[in-house]
């Protein structure tokens, strides 16, 4: 089996509102793909050449463009980006907010098997086409809509608010300590986002104090104990990564590109209540999330000690909190220690989300997996600019779909 190399990629500026700019999904794809290929040093002519021998394919991740932009058949839209994609195999992959991770997984599989030598992964979502309440309802389809989403305003903040409640029930932590840890997680992500020139919130103000003052006019409660400061953003954007086979690397004489070292993919019960019933026998609140991490460690032959940086799915502060023990940074129930000690801060030993994550950088749902993956690539290659963590050799990401239903983990590292 071929190793899978990462040649590069790009993300769009997550501050942008494409509806306000009067631009459609094709414009978004054109910009992201053009920038991503340029970063990976692949031209449209290269694609034409590779396609003559059926050596290149596209993998498009998107959650729910059918609702946001009234458009399906998204894989075929690569042909609108450039005529070089005429005839190139391309399809759309969907697993809610983990859509572009499943696209990356499909892409790496085709490279490993030797079917293709270059795989272009594009994750995207345009979410500002509708008002926030309508958008919140669309996102409800990442849960069991009939039972958990229909006729409920903003179902997801409520589900992750329940995760906060369940965490407090399962573990012997005092509520204040837990909520303060969540406020710190928010403040860290916003603060990291200030370093990222593509982050949606780079100009926004947030502090620990503001994040821990919940239930005010500027920080209203949105789901149980969670307030606006605990939520990720509604974002327009795309992220592109380009993968390649060993054969391609040799042909081109490309050296020193990172490789995918391992992955994990586990699906938990769809309904939130069933998830919670299912965790009774586990020390972890999200045992299948933990299992996906364990699988990725096992496949990569690495442990938490080998990881220099993490990107996680902080769709809400309560999900990042649960990720801490899932990564193995603390024992389950003691996640607060990693927050309080500064372990996961930008300057800590195991930083989480130097990019700002979904809270700081933004969360165009179908793009987030590819965006995290791109950030691992940047960290490992030392190209993350002001949010670079020093000396990264291995990095891990966790991307979840629904209420931690689909769990995707990738390990990216230097090629030994």
């Amino acid at each position: 089996m071929s190793k899978v190399y990462i040649l590069g990629g790009a993300q769009t500026d997550f501050e942008r509102n494409w509806k306000k700019e009067g631009k459609n999904m094709v414009a978004l794809l054109k910009e992201a793909v053009t920038d991503g290929l340029a970063n990976a040093d692949i031209t449209f002519d290269d694609i034409k050449e590779l396609n003559k021998d059926n050596r290149v394919a596209c993998f498009v991740g998107n959650f729910i463009a059918e609702k946001y932009t009234e458009q399906g058949h998204l894989g075929a839209f690569m042909t609108e980006v450039n005529a070089a994609f005429y005839g190139v195999p391309s399809a759309r992959y969907e697993a809610a907010c983990a859509s572009s991770s499943v696209a990356i997984d499909a892409a790496q599989t085709k490279i490993k098997s030797g079917d293709y030598d270059v795989a272009i992964v594009v994750g995207w979502e345009l979410m500002k086409t509708v008002d926030s309440k309508t958008g919140g309802d669309f996102l409800g389809r990442a849960a069991f809509y009939e039972k958990e989403g229909k006729d409920i305003d903003f179902p997801f903040p409520k589900l992750f608010g329940k995760l906060a409640d369940e965490t407090l029930k399962k573990y012997p932590i005092e509520e204040k300590r837990y909520m303060d840890a969540l406020a710190s997680i928010s403040a860290i992500n916003y603060s990291n986002g200030k370093r990222n020139p593509m982050a949606q919130t780079r100009k926004w103000f947030m502090s620990y104090e503001q994040a821990s003052t919940r239930g005010t006019e500027t920080n209203p409660l949105v789901g149980g104990k969670l307030a606006v400061s605990d939520c990720s953003q509604v974002t327009d954007g795309a992220a592109v990564v380009v993968l390649a086979s060993e054969k391609f690397m040799k042909e081109r004489g490309i050296k020193e590109k990172p490789v995918i070292k391992g992955y994990g993919h586990r699906v938990a019960p769809m309904l939130f209540e069933k998830k919670m019933a299912d965790n009774a026998a586990s020390a972890f609140i999200l045992p299948w999330t933990r299992q996906a991490v364990v699988d990725a460690y096992k496949r990569s032959g690495l442990t938490v000690d080998d990881m220099d940086v993490f990107e996680t799915h902080d769709c809400f502060t309560s999900s990042e909190y649960a990720a801490i023990s899932s990564f193995g940074l603390t024992e389950p129930s003691r996640e607060y220690e990693a927050v309080e000690s500064g372990l996961i801060s930008f300057d800590g030993k195991k930083p989480i989300n130097p990019s700002g994550g979904l809270i700081g950088c933004g969360h165009p749902v179908g793009a987030s997996g590819a965006r995290m993956f791109l950030d691992l690539y940047k960290q490992v290659t030392g190209t993350a600019g002001r949010y670079q963590i020093h000396g990264v050799r291995n990095a891990m990401m966790l991307n979840i779909g629904g209420s931690a239903t689909t769990n995707y983990v990738f390990v990216v590292g230097v090629d030994r």
């Binding site: 700019e21 631009k23 100009k203 926004w204 103000f205 104090e209 500027t218």
Partner: protein, 434 residues
């Protein structure tokens, strides 16, 4: 620079109220907000809180009035004067601040047009080195531009520390500029806007105001068309800026700073723009809730319905921009020879040239022109505009061919010799819309 306590003098004005929010939020400072009427200051505080979306700062905002000025200043590490743009008010305030300022504190004026050097001279000699111009744009929460003006008295090391504080702590895009009338951003921006106002008069038989705005709309690299921007800023404010530049500078574009008569007439009639309900434009509201957008007809002096102009070049540009085909859009602009396309392109070319010229005169680097226009106006900055047009044509040749009237007045080759790739992405600024 360790700034724990700040005094904002003139805190009930739009800028003062917003700047107090910036110091209290990003700066984490305690802020004394001084206004003429303490009750009005108290009513301003919720606005300040809202401007940075953070209730958590409310407890750090302390209302005060002018009788408490000396006491507040004496307790402050930084004093920010944001009073009315009136030399008498500002000199009087500067003198009072100077008497109470701590010897290790910093004092700033937010003036948008007055001489910072002249204001420095209102301070005791030993404190003049600690005085700077710090010119922010409205609203500062979303417009990050901050022009930093040193005077001949300023202490260089302190200026560097202040710059670092504004940049890293307050997250401003700091651009160092010379103490020149209206500084850099407004010099460039209002040259463009005022010339557009003049063109509206020249082309009043073609439609005038909305005609020119339709030619220079958001598809030309900005959020808001120029005359609409003037209406939004306020025609009185516009006048103050262009009059100041016209009276106190003299460059090749001098005549483009003359305020057109019809605008003066609107100001005389107190039709100052958006804030007074009518100006260049007027939104007529009916009792049944219907709104009717109208525009001033320069010929008749009456408001009329806006005209849905159809310019093939503009419609094609918008169509291409909507699909991310920027090069095809610029190709339409450069290769269409309708009157409207030629006016449009000439404005964009003049903008590039004047920006580079002004950056040399008022700034210290060529990039200064880019920073001020991107982060103070949200317009495609000049170097990025140069790059955009370069994708379809040789811009130097275009300038020489299309801007015949400035050819002899300035050294175009010399100006363009220093051109650099922009740090800004032009694609963000060209929009498909009105």
């Amino acid at each position: 620079m360790n700034i724990k306590t700040v005094t904002v003098v003139g805190a009930t004005g739009t800028m003062g109220a917003n700047i107090a929010g910036i110091f209290a939020s990003f700066g984490g400072a305690k802020v004394y907000m001084i206004g003429r009427d303490i009750e009005k200051v108290k009513r301003t505080i919720p606005r300040t809180v809202k401007s940075v979306k953070a209730d958590s700062i409310a407890k750090n905002l302390i209302p005060a009035d002018f009788t408490m000025l000396e006491q507040c200043v004496a307790d402050s590490d930084l004093v920010f004067e944001s009073c009315a743009e009136n030399i008498h008010v500002k000199t009087e305030t500067a003198a009072r601040i100077g008497k109470a300022l701590k010897s290790d504190a910093v004092s700033c004026t937010g003036t948008s047009g007055l001489s910072v050097t002249a204001l420095a001279e209102c301070y005791p000699e030993d404190l003049r080195s600690r005085f700077f111009g710090v010119h922010m744009f409205n609203p500062p929460y979303s417009m990050s531009l901050c022009e930093l003006i040193e005077t001949k008295y300023s202490e260089k090391e302190l200026a560097d520390e202040l710059k670092d504080y504004l940049d890293r702590t307050l997250l401003r895009t700091v651009v160092e500029v010379k103490d020149s009338p209206a500084f850099l951003g407004n010099r460039i921006g209002f040259q463009f806007i005022n010339e557009a106002l003049q063109y509206a008069e020249t082309y009043k038989d073609n439609g005038g105001i909305d005609y020119i705005d339709a030619i220079l709309g958001s598809f030309t690299g900005r959020s808001m068309a120029p005359l609409n921007t003037s209406d939004f800023v306020g025609l009185d404010v516009h006048k103050a800026i262009v009059d100041n530049i016209y009276q106190n500078t003299d460059d090749y574009a001098h005549e483009t700073f003359i305020l057109p008569q019809y605008v003066q007439k609107l100001i005389d009639e107190k039709k100052l723009g958006r804030k007074s309900g009518e100006g260049l434009y007027k939104l007529v509201r009916y009792d049944n809730g219907l709104k009717r957008p109208t525009v001033l007809d320069i010929n008749t002096g009456m408001y009329r319905d806006r005209i849905p102009y159809v310019f093939p070049f503009a419609d094609n540009m918008k169509k291409y921009i909507a699909e991310g085909e920027y090069i095809k859009a610029f190709d339409q602009l450069v290769n269409n020879h309708s009157l409207e396309a030629e006016i449009c392109l000439s404005f964009l070319l003049k903008y590039i040239v004047y920006s580079l010229y002004a950056a040399k005169e008022v700034g210290y680097t060529i990039e200064a022109a880019d920073d001020v226009m991107a982060t103070g106006f949200n317009w495609c900055p000049p170097l990025a505009m140069y790059q955009a047009l370069s994708s379809v044509s040789d811009v130097k040749t275009l300038i020489k061919e299309r801007l015949t009237d400035i050819r002899g007045k300035i050294d175009i080759d010399g100006l363009l010799a220093d051109i650099k790739p922009s740090r800004y992405d032009y694609r963000l600024y060209f929009k498909s819309g009105k």
